[in-house]
Assembly symmetry: D2
Homo-oligomer: 341 residues x 4
């Protein structure tokens, strides 16, 4: 009953998932790893796991029942297509792929296979706070959601490595995905406004303010601040017709001292979402053990790709950039049977 | 040492101010009232106060040292100009006037007089929560303010009486004024987005989402929801370079019962801002007793008029509507000497 | 309609009340002051106020309609009795008197006069947070109050001047009075426990933990910590049969910075209760203008005296020290007609 | 590397632990179960697990590496002694045993074995909120802990089944254990006060108010209310020399609706402590796999037994009942090497 998995890519996030699957989450065994850096792969491999020389060798190995893709984005398409061709469930870290065309090809392959095989790494959907928030909205007592105020703040980003495209390419996709999920809606257009620049980030375009126009007419505004010094702070508040629902403060000891009455704020995403990552894999393992996938789908990865593309266009155009999705394939039409989704 | 004042307009807000000046605030005596409805004026007049037949009679009366204007907006310009001509300090309820041209005429008259005489009724500037928030921003430890998220929610508005222009004409002016004051900045442009409509307001355009572009580059986003059922909820959060400052929950007993752990929310603006109104008049009386005015000025009323005009244009145009103010007259250049300002 | 008052005692608290009655509260005029230090009295006297040489001269002066006693405790009895003999409403700072016998004499005098004349300075009853808390309890939805957890923390106390008796003599009386008022109950016994001593107060007995046994059977536990460094923090939570009601955090800007998400705490009692003091006098003026008194009564001052005496005995005895009050005189039986009480 | 465990007792809590070890926690396999009700044991046994006819057969089975005791309290001593005799790590649900003499016998057996083998089921020590609270206290910045206010509220208890001894026997032991752990201290005496009775519990003695006197002089006050209707609410606040640390509100969506601004409260202990139970077993498995035990020890179970006994005596006596523990055996002297402890 233990799922035998292979891990492609043993960089920072790959190593973290290997630790998670080895020490925290049950029902899974890592039987193979691979990386373009074979030494790194060997160092990361748990006892008993085979080090494969190529992703395709790992994917096609009989001992590998399911695949975890933690390689860099441009490599995802090929690895996803190979996994689907092999009929193996696959967990794929963000981004799903790096172009709309690639996303369409992966969806076509999955549709041709006839069953969902891919879960994309939007871990926020597994966070307990977001799940409770969605339950309140879905409960319907507050009426239809009309406005969603989503806030994404990083204490800092690596100077030089973090470019002005990244708030839209890497960060906004989380807010876009969680907006689609919380509101059970789709993004139809994106606007970007660039406010006064923070002096803390040098030439970096920071903060960025984004409006997501949803199919229902609901409007999402997103604050992205990536050098705000004080911590990693994720906030969200949904204004509905007859009330408002919001993420709470993170649980932290309430201290009264010379700084006032206060609660600590997470330092980074690892601290904030550590349990969401664990839960993400718990649910993936359950679905993969049945030969399928739940949670964020190829469709969701496709949507994120289009939103990021539109956001980058909107920075330049200053206008409302449309997000034109294809009709939703049947494979993604119905919610999966997974309880928490 | 008691300031002798006359009140023009004895409708709801006028009566409330008469009650306030009679029972709550010290250093003031109402010596005259007037209203287009003489019977209403007579009924509202405190003991010993004269009922004048016209505003101009009240303004020119020797027993009236200072004037409070609570008449309807279209009458304000004439009453303001008469008060300034008489050299009498004047408190004027919102709106200052109803057109840009009128605002310019009032500013010119005040400039010609050579001293500030007008205080406009933006009571939020006298609210303790907003004042503490401004003190934090002005303190500078959080760095420059970059984004301000301002939320204005009404439980309900009078059906039929409240039109789709009013969120921009009557409500937005508060958010615009408090934004200018909190950020020590000016509005240079306005955008309006109209999200999915609440079914609770019939055909009313509700909610409305507004972006105020500030001269510094700071961006203000404003949620206006006027039928949200649960209460009168005013929120504000300012993202700065190195931290965030926000209005707190209103003080209210923390009750743990079947509804959870909870605090009541004010029912309406009277409950929320009652102390701000009191303080507004305390400070007006101090300044008026010295023959001048502090707090929100004719300049601020002028700015509010331009923002409301731009917002109404922006609804139609869908674009960024500029707010082009004249150069700031010297009279309004320096902050007044009032401590709390 | 302005109440003409005389102030006995122009030390720190007397000066603060003179400022309050001159600048903040309406409907009152200070026409006389006196102090054992005549120079201090002269310095504190507002323009136009007479400096009396003795309290009795002030009390008997025809120009004085009502009396405010801010002298030291041992002088209160004589000044209260003289005021009552003169039939003049009197506001008396804590402590009412310094012995049970004295309290009984003042009550007898007031009873003989036939109308309440004395209001004691328990300002917490005029604090908006405590009033809302009482309204919730009195509303009855939570059922009968069973336990009250009352917390009194000072940042620091003056070294050398503050003795180990003072937490029970000066501080506990506030918690005792507010307990009686919130629970509409009487104290019947007192226990004191002395926990591990804080090293911040030297030899001072700090903190102190007190149990008040109430006539209804409800139990009040009181934490008194007077050197806790971080601020002046007054807390209270009442456990009822079907829920809990508690004082909220004080309103303060919510700041997110390197110290976490936080709100400032008041520095001292002046900051915490400034509005309660104002309101205390507003209501006193209304009652005194009618020749009577509302709010905390001689009976309440008597109760406080007995509780403090019992607490001091309990420190020594280690046991439950009874509080034996006389039957409640009719004069104090019914709640006064004052709305807020 | 998978720990093979046997479970004694398949009632409610036993079944919940079987579910937990099968579906949630990794590194463990249930290889045997037993219960006085053989049918119940058979129904609860996971696939592949042997149903033993007696606890001793399970304990002595070679396939069982470690034992989980979920039987009723009076059976614990014999099962613990047998497990220790077999040299097998054992997790024992509360109460450790039901008499002081039995606790001493178990400690002697463990001491004779020479290594810790027993972990007692005080799951609060594994709760993230309590752990953060302890980290703040242990960090020392707030100075020594002087007072701990611990609140334990149940929405309701089973009528008829829940007796007046149970708040002290079953509930207080949690507050006592967490007090000892948070303050790194021992209980030396217990007082109990019985306030006004809640009408919601019929003849049940509810609420109960307890004082724990600690060896350091610190004082712990405990509110136990078991019929408070609104939810399961566990609170704790520690007053130190230079500040205060408290458990936060539970994470729950912040909803603004007709009930105010509010957060839900857990319904029962299962909801509140579900993650603590999971973590309790994760850490037990790690230690048991090494042939030893960490976390709450036999010593801690012994302490709880003495506190409960003293509390029951204190109800009758009305006085301070001493808790006289034997000198701490060396086996329990040093903190275990477990990181989280």
């Amino acid at each position: 009953m233990t799922l035998q998995v292979g891990v492609i890519g043993t960089g920072m996030i790959g190593q973290d998932h290997i630790r998670r699957l080895t020490n925290v989450v049950s029902g899974v065994e890592i039987v193979g790893v691979t990386d373009i850096d074979q030494a790194r792969a060997a160092a990361a491999a748990p006892a008993g796991a085979e080090v494969f020389t190529t992703p395709s060798a790992l994917i096609s190995s009989k001992k590998v029942q399911a695949v975890i893709i933690c390689s860099w984005g441009p490599a995802h398409e090929e690895q996803l297509l190979a996994s689907i061709a092999a009929g193996k469930p696959v967990f794929c870290e963000k981004p799903l792929v790096t172009s709309e065309a690639a996303a369409l090809r992966v969806m076509e392959a999955e549709a041709a296979f006839g069953r969902r095989l891919v879960q994309v790494g939007f871990m926020r959907r597994f966070d307990a706070d977001y799940r409770r928030l969605k339950a309140v909205i879905d409960g319907g007592k507050l009426g239809a959601p009309l406005l969603f105020h989503s806030v994404h703040r990083n204490a800092s980003v690596p100077e030089g490595l973090y470019t002005s495209e990244m708030p839209l390419n890497d960060t906004l996709v989380h807010d876009a995905d969680i907006s689609r999920w919380l509101l059970s809606d789709e993004v139809t257009g994106v606007e970007v406004r660039v406010p006064r620049r923070s002096t803390r980030g040098g030439a970096l375009r920071d903060p960025v303010f984004v409006l997501l126009h949803m199919a229902s007419g609901a409007l999402v505004d997103v604050e992205i601040s990536v050098n705000i010094a004080y911590g990693y702070d994720i906030r969200g508040e949904i204004s509905c017709e007859a009330g408002v629902a919001a993420l709470p403060n993170r649980p932290a000891t309430v201290i009264s001292d010379a700084s006032g009455i206060r609660q600590a704020i997470p330092e980074d995403w690892r601290e904030r979402f550590i349990e969401a990552y664990d839960q993400e894999f718990r649910e993936w393992i359950v679905a993969a053990s049945k030969g399928t996938a739940g949670g964020p789908s190829t469709w969701d990865g496709y949507a994120a790709t289009l939103v990021a593309d539109a956001a980058l266009r909107a920075v330049t155009s200053g206008g409302l950039e449309p997000v034109n999705m294809i009709p939703k394939p049947k494979l993604y039409a119905a919610p999966t049977a997974m309880a928490a989704e």
